[in-house]
């Protein structure tokens, strides 16, 4: 969401009136919370220490309530580093804790709600967490100085220990927390933060804080919730959207050992049992017949035809600069192309699941969600309970990728739990998870360019056509018919394009719900823009790197990553027959990336990606090892989709079902991925999704260079 949100992030987003409030914890420690007047009072932050963002207990441990969820991106570690840097404590003295749902206390300053997405976590908390750390340090130092009757400005703090001006006396934080809790926190604008050159932790690569639990099986994901007396549910959801169960053999299901109950709701059937094995067996025995409802005729062809027709009409203007029509009319040559990208499922390793205990007066939920507050609100609406009677215990997420931005799995579990006495854990099978996902939209885009005699683009028209995730997900942000996310990466390509028109046509395919998918808007637009720029380069008989360079004279950060990727990849050095390199470039999520892919194409056309080189300028690199991990992760996620990811519809049903028909990349086929980080003192950009967006065009451009085959429709492999 670079278009709309970067400016807000730059403004650091915290309201001017925001202040820090200190209080004592029950154990005699110090708690700090941000208070936004008018917003936080309602949440009780003014009074209670309980909701403190940061708590320093008399045992010296620093508890940090992490407002964002950990789904693999490393945010627990990176956010803890921001606090530790200014607080002057060792990173391992910080205990990250899951945050309960509370927008007033834990909203991401960029997204204005407590949701984890759009690669906004480090960007959003870059300033507030460092401020909180600095404020706490100042208070602790002041408390120590008061005890010594020394000048606090001359005392120093390091690794959780305060030293007096003479250097002779020192006090660990834990001995002054109680006194510090009585000191008024400094005003935010009085806090002087370290300059980038003074960082001692930011820019290093400490080990992830939560790793030990993950290598020993101790980490609890949502699916691992255990409640006394809990039952287990296996479910079948109508295979066609809008369908209903018609016939359920309840007796056969109940005859299975361990099956306790059959629950039939509008859109699904759940078998409740003593363990999931029995529940699954009961589900099979139930031999459910469905009434498919009105959508049984929907298929991929009809959806594509609908989108194609939409792409032939003009859309809502996202950007219009210069005079595109005139420039096309006058130009020497013109190029037109159609690009298609398929529906995609998220297929996080942890299948959808949710544990619910619904009582008369409360609903308790255990789930890993990217949207705790939205989930709480929706459950309250569904059950008629007050919001604070909906108690949500957020868990570690076994992958999110955007799937867990949707509360549907929790709502379904609550509907089932209504019929169950006691807690019930609902686990979706992998088949249900893939067939009832909320899919990345299918896009059918048209793009045209006109070039001058030298082959440089003088007119550019990109028409994005697809369903709108924003209109469904965040209606207030869907303004004047424009989905800002659908055009992100299209409306502001990094290149100098003198006459540019980008418009958006919204087409909603029947019965398919679409949602955010790792990389969001850029993942589709960057593929198109970077493929098309490559086409123009080849049409101009120019080297793709040299061609891009000429269009980047006003964009030094983009030019620098392009050059770095090309250099590290050995761009221009000869490759054996059947092998070639391709390049791509993007600015998205506040970060600049360029990637070079090396591919080998065998005589049957089978593509093997052998090496990826990625240059990254994400501003200050908070945790380089995490950046490398996210580049590898994002690249493989995007590459899997580019090579063979596609969800197709037949007779209203999703045709793919498990990892055999929706195959992930495996260790024997992934390339080595090299990451090169550009040193920078700019504020951090987001990185959880960037590499997912950039990889496809690097690969397809390489395939073109190797074979002359231009890929304008994904996935690369036939499905």
């Amino acid at each position: 969401m670079t278009l709309t949100i970067v400016s807000r992030a730059d403004a650091a987003a915290l309201s001017r009136r925001t202040f820090l409030k200190a209080s004592a914890t029950a154990a005699g420690g110090l708690a700090l919370a941000f208070v936004v007047p008018g917003r936080s009072e309602a949440a009780g932050a003014e009074n209670g220490a309980l909701n403190g963002f940061v708590r320093i207990e008399p045992d010296g441990r620093v508890h940090l309530t992490i407002p964002m969820v950990e789904m693999g991106q490393g945010t627990y570690t990176s956010l803890a580093m921001l606090l530790a840097e200014e607080l002057e404590v060792k990173l391992d003295s910080i205990v990250p804790e899951h945050a309960p749902p509370n927008d007033a206390l834990y909203a991401n300053p960029i997204l204005h709600e407590q949701s984890t997405g759009l690669s906004a976590s480090t960007r959003g908390f870059w300033l507030p967490l460092r401020q909180a750390g600095a404020a706490a340090r100042i208070m602790l130092v002041t408390a120590a100085a008061q005890r010594w009757k020394a000048d606090p400005a001359k005392c120093t703090a390091k690794a959780g220990v305060i030293t007096d001006p003479s250097g002779k006396r020192s006090l660990p934080y834990r001995e002054v927390v109680q006194a510090a809790a009585q000191i008024r926190p400094p005003a935010l604008d009085q806090i002087k933060l370290k300059a980038p050159g003074q960082f001692s932790l930011i820019g290093t690569s400490p080990k992830r804080l939560e790793a030990a639990g993950k290598v020993s099986g101790r980490t609890r994901f949502g699916i691992d919730a255990i409640e006394p007396g809990m039952k287990f549910a296996a479910i079948a959801i109508s295979p066609v959207g809008g369908g209903k169960p018609k016939q359920v053999n309840q007796a056969a299901a109940l005859a299975i050992k361990g099956v306790r109950q059959v629950v039939v709701i509008d859109e699904a059937v759940a078998i409740i049992a003593d363990h999931t094995g029995a529940a699954k067996k009961g589900l099979e025995a139930a031999a459910i017949q469905w009434d498919d409802g009105p959508n049984a005729q929907v298929n991929s062809q009809s959806i594509v035809a609908q989108l194609k027709a939409g792409s032939e009409t003009s859309g809502v203007i996202a950007r219009n600069e210069g005079n595109v029509e005139q420039a096309f009319a006058k130009a020497a040559r013109r190029f037109d192309a159609v690009f298609e990208l398929p529906f995609l499922a998220h297929a996080a390793m942890e299948p959808m699941n949710c544990t619910v205990h619904l009582r008369k007066d409360a609903c308790e939920i255990w789930v890993g969600t990217q949207v705790p507050t939205v989930t709480q609100t929706r459950v309250a609406a569904l059950t008629g309970l007050q919001k604070d009677a909906v108690i949500l215990h957020n868990q570690f997420l076994g992958g999110g990728f955007g799937r867990r931005l949707e509360p549907d799995g929790t709502l379904l579990a609550v509907k089932i739990a209504r019929h169950v006495d006691g807690p019930v854990k609902v686990i979706w099978s992998r088949e249900e998870d893939i067939q009832h996902d909320i899919y990345r939209p299918y896009y059918y885009d048209r793009i045209s360019a006109a070039v001058d005699e030298a082959g440089n683009p003088v007119a550019w028209h990109h028409r994005v056509c697809g369903s709108s995730v924003v209109a469904r997900f965040a209606p207030p942000l869907f303004k004047n018919g424009l989905d800002f996310d659908a055009v992100e990466g299209a409306a502001e390509p990094p290149y100098a394009l003198p006459n540019i028109l980008v418009d958006y046509v919204r087409v909603e395919p029947a019965s398919i719900t679409t949602g955010f998918w790792r990389g969001v808007g850029p993942v589709h637009n960057v593929f198109i823009v970077e493929s098309f720029i490559d086409e123009l380069a080849f049409a101009a008989k120019q080297d793709p790197v040299a061609y891009r360079r000429r269009l980047l004279s006003k964009n030094p950060r983009a030019l620098a990553v392009l050059n770095l990727a090309a250099e590290k990849a050995g761009w221009g050095q000869p490759m054996p027959a059947g092998k070639a390199r391709g390049i791509s470039l993007q600015f998205a999520f506040g970060s600049y990336l360029s990637q070079v892919a090396e591919v080998a194409v065998d005589t049957k056309g089978k593509v093997r990606v052998e090496r990826i080189v990625c240059a990254v300028d994400c501003g200050i690199a908070v945790t380089p090892s995490m950046i490398e991990a996210q580049v590898q992760s994002g690249t493989i996620f995007g590459l899997t989709a580019a090579l063979r990811g596609a969800i197709t519809i037949k007779d209203g049903r999703v045709e793919q079902s498990n990892f055999d028909s929706y195959p992930p990349m495996r260790i024997d086929e992934v390339p080595r991925i090299e990451t090169h980080i550009v040193p920078s003192t700019e504020n951090p950009g987001g990185l959880g999704e960037a590499a997912t967006a950039i990889v496809a065009p690097a690969v397809t451009n390489a395939i073109f260079a190797a074979t002359g085959r231009r890929i304008r429709k994904l996935p690369i492999e036939e499905v």
Partner: protein
Amino acid sequence: MSFVLKINGASHTIDADGDTPLLWVLRDVLQMTGTKFGCGMALCGACTVHLDGAATRSCITTIDSVGDAAITTIEAIGQSEAGRKVQRAWLDLDVVQCGYCQSGQIMSATALLMSNAHPTDGDINDAMSGNVCRCGTYNRIRDAIKLAAGAKP
């Protein structure tokens, strides 16, 4: 029917149908949630345990087929030397991301090293390609196996 399973050195009597997958007995009946569910069809390796030291997909292993084989799960893998080395290497190279697949990855990697102290890249591919990681931690998994084997990654 009831079955006696030897898990991590302890015997457990399980009262369930013989065709119940071991995975659900571990997770739901015994509340040993370190072993994960990912696909239910031996396609992802998230549920990998050891039966007498061999990597086995517990999602398709019925309890009546286990017999008196010794079952080892992620909860106890650190008690073996190979398991401890693998976990150490995983931490040293910061392999994990979301972590959900990692119990299975570690079980497969440990089984590999127990039978082959110095695996080649090809051996790693053979032993590990049944384990999916949607977070794409594969580069570091390969390096960590080599580190655990004492080779320079």
